[in-house]
């Protein structure tokens, strides 16, 4: 009985939580608005009706304190899931996450474990501005003791969420808001996608694109354009950025000789640079041309959509970069033509025209 049920990323997150709440009495979920009628962009909708307010909890606006509460609960037999509607808010809790959650297992010689999942949603669009749209994954990926995953597809988000809830370490689980409406086939049962493994989402010969989260979608879009010009990119969805799995990327670069890393965060000190450094250290001799990255510029997010248009790189920028890296000469004019017609086909502050928020 093979089902071909198609559901959205948002629904896949919700289903993963639902299955774990059902299976494990030790799991609970807590966050501002978790049991409310909007249910954290739909990802916790109605769970309170099924499991009650004792396991599906709202909370005071006390990010650091409640993170500590979750750590304490995790140390004493529970498996909390905590959620922030914007990744930016987790900065208020970074003390507990870095000083305690990440280190507890190590600094007490392995006596205790902190099975804790922190769901962080990256905001984007509709003028979120400097404090509501940060892509802070690099901060967490720097910290030993944390694991950091950034699932891109509905299938992966469910499988990785279940793996994360079952893991005995603190997991930073990063969801990009612009992925929420993406749909694909997702099995109804409980299944796992392993933490710490990247995935090839498109095989190709000419250039390796390693990308994170929503930028993998833009990469796929770019590859659809670029393949018209006879260039065949291989796309690796990094998925886990801590511990970083570079095996597939290195293997791919050995084949293609070119590497373009694309991350949704800032350039300096970001994930993209780390990927480049790690691959160059290992596979320096495989490169036909210098590795490159596409990221946000080192600038806080502006609010006006006239500025975000230039702030967020898109598949157009990616296609352009690929063309340059693949050393295209005259064909470039042709690419320009294709791209020119597309550059501003949707506003820069919504993922597609049918998306009406909330953001």
């Amino acid at each position: 009985m093979k089902s071909n049920r198609i559901i959205s990323y948002m629904e896949a997150v919700r289903e993963g939580i639902d299955l774990c709440l059902e299976k494990y009495p030790s799991v609970f979920i807590i966050g501002p608005g978790v049991p409310d009628p909007k249910g954290v962009f739909g990802t916790t909708l109605n769970l309170v009706d099924k499991y009650g307010p004792g396991r599906v909890l709202d909370m005071p606006l006390s990010e650091n304190g409640i993170t500590g509460v979750c750590i304490g609960a995790a140390l004493t037999g529970m498996r909390p899931i905590m959620v922030h509607q914007r990744m930016d808010f987790s900065l208020l809790a970074i003390d507990e996450l870095i000083n305690n959650a990440a280190k507890w297992h190590y600094m007490f010689g392995g006596w205790c474990e902190v099975p804790l999942v922190i769901r962080l949603i990256i905001g984007r669009g509709w003028g979120q501005g400097a404090q509501h749209s940060q892509n802070l994954q690099a901060l967490y990926a720097h910290i030993p003791g944390l694991k950091v995953v950034m699932p891109t597809t509905p299938y992966d988000v469910k499988g990785l969420l279940i793996s994360s809830i079952e893991d005995n370490n603190p997991i930073i689980f990063i969801e990009h808001r612009w992925l929420y409406n993406m749909c694909e086939h997702v099995p109804e049962a409980m299944y796992r996608v392993p933490i710490g493994k990247s995935k090839i989402v498109r095989e190709g010969e000419d250039i390796t694109i390693a990308s994170t989260s929503y930028m993998t979608i833009e990469s796929i879009k770019a590859s659809r354009i670029i393949e018209n010009l006879g260039i065949s990119p291989e796309i690796v969805d990094i998925r886990t950025i801590k511990p970083l799995d570079t095996n597939l990327i290195i293997k791919s670069v050995k084949k293609t000789g070119r590497l373009l890393v694309i991350d949704s965060g800032w350039k300096s000190g970001g994930i993209a640079g780390e990927v480049i450094a790690s691959v160059v250290e290992e596979a320096f001799d495989s490169f036909k041309s210098k590795p490159q990255r596409i990221t946000l510029p080192d600038i806080p997010t502006p609010t006006s959509h006239s500025l975000t248009r230039h702030y967020y790189p898109t598949y157009v920028d990616i296609a352009n970069k690929i063309a340059t890296m693949a050393g295209m000469g005259t064909e470039k004019a042709e690419l320009r033509k294709i791209l020119k017609s597309k550059k501003y086909d949707t506003p820069s502050d919504i993922p597609h025209l049918s998306f009406t928020g909330p953001f």
């Binding site: 003028g127 501005g129 006006s304 502050d349």
Partner: protein, 309 residues
């Protein structure tokens, strides 16, 4: 009225930023800010249109900011949640709960260090009062006896979550007391009452008696963010809203002024017309203004200025 206009305009999808309306909560902003001098310094939060305007912030620059225009008060880089008008010492609003409260304390520290007698005001919501930073701010302000007024606008909700799901049963203003800060609870729905209590508070603070904490009870009419009503969500019911609406602070103020013969019906209508004109002007200004150029993206990441040596 400004915000009613936003309600009208928002569906045009030209105001493209999260917009938290203060409709219903005007009395706290007006009642407090009417007591302030131009050199008094105000910090707000995500729901601060009313504070900006009550402190005398420029209406045109405000409207242009909502539209993301280069002429906006933050040059299009801020939007509804990041308002500023330094010409009237309205020093900024941000949507990180509690985030601006210590900034107001810092402004008060500047005033004290510089030997001035201007004061600082921090507006924040009932949920922000749950952030530890509020306590850290209160403790420091109390320790140093700084000229700062803490104004907690308690509208009973944080997004769709009621107070009872977030705080134990006790009044919020008691938090101020615990830090040895003079603290009061008042009806924030009555502009005159707010004015009176704020007047006393501001005078006391300006005279050097240290900080004061006001908890003002109020109510938000529209949804948490955006122009609509939201009773269909079921987290609050319309009856509750209608009870508050009946006490509409603006209507009440108008009636009181009419009764006391401070204002005639004609004057009132005249005022309304004038304000309407101003709003229309501001909207036209905003709509006609240019968007920031691409270059603007790259400016202001760092200040190029330094202290003269």
């Amino acid at each position: 009225m400004v915000e009613e206009k936003i309600v009208e305009l928002y569906p045009e999808q030209e105001i493209r930023c999260p917009t938290h309306l203060s409709i219903g909560e005007e009395a706290t902003a007006v009642g407090v800010c009417e007591n302030l001098r131009q050199d008094d310094m105000v910090f707000g939060y995500h729901r601060s249109h009313a504070h900006y305007l009550a402190k005398g912030g420029n209406l045109k620059a405000f409207m242009a900011e909502l539209y993301g225009k280069a002429t906006g008060c933050s040059r299009g880089k801020g939007g509804s949640m990041h308002l500023i008008d330094i010409s009237v010492n309205f020093l900024g609003t941000t949507p990180i709960l509690g985030g601006t409260v210590p900034l107001a304390v810092g402004a008060a520290l500047s005033s004290q260090m510089q030997g001035k007698d201007n004061i600082a005001v921090a507006f924040f919501g009932d949920a922000a009062a749950e952030e530890g930073i509020i306590h850290e701010s209160l403790n420091f302000a109390s320790l140093k006896k700084l000229p700062v007024l803490f104004v907690c606008e308690n509208n009973l909700y944080s997004v769709q979550t009621p107070l009872s799901a977030r705080q134990p049963e006790r009044e919020i203003y008691l938090l101020g007391k615990a830090h040895a800060v003079d603290s009061y609870l008042a009806d924030g729905y009555d502009a005159l009452k707010v004015y009176e209590i704020a007047k006393k508070a501001v005078e006391k603070i300006r005279a050097g008696n240290g900080p004061i904490f006001l908890e003002l009870l109020t109510y938000r009419w529209r949804e948490h963010c955006g122009p609509n009503y939201d009773f269909e969500l079921g987290y609050r019911n319309e009856v509750e809203f209608l009870k508050w609406k009946e006490k509409d602070p603006i209507k009440k103020l108008k009636e009181e002024m009419l009764e006391a013969n401070i204002l005639s019906n004609e004057e009132f209508e005249g005022m309304r017309e004038e304000i309407n004109r101003e709003i229309e002007d501001a909207v036209s200004f905003a709509k006609d203004s240019p968007f920031p150029e691409k270059d603007e993206l790259y400016s202001n990441v760092y200040s190029e200025q330094g202290h003269e040596k």
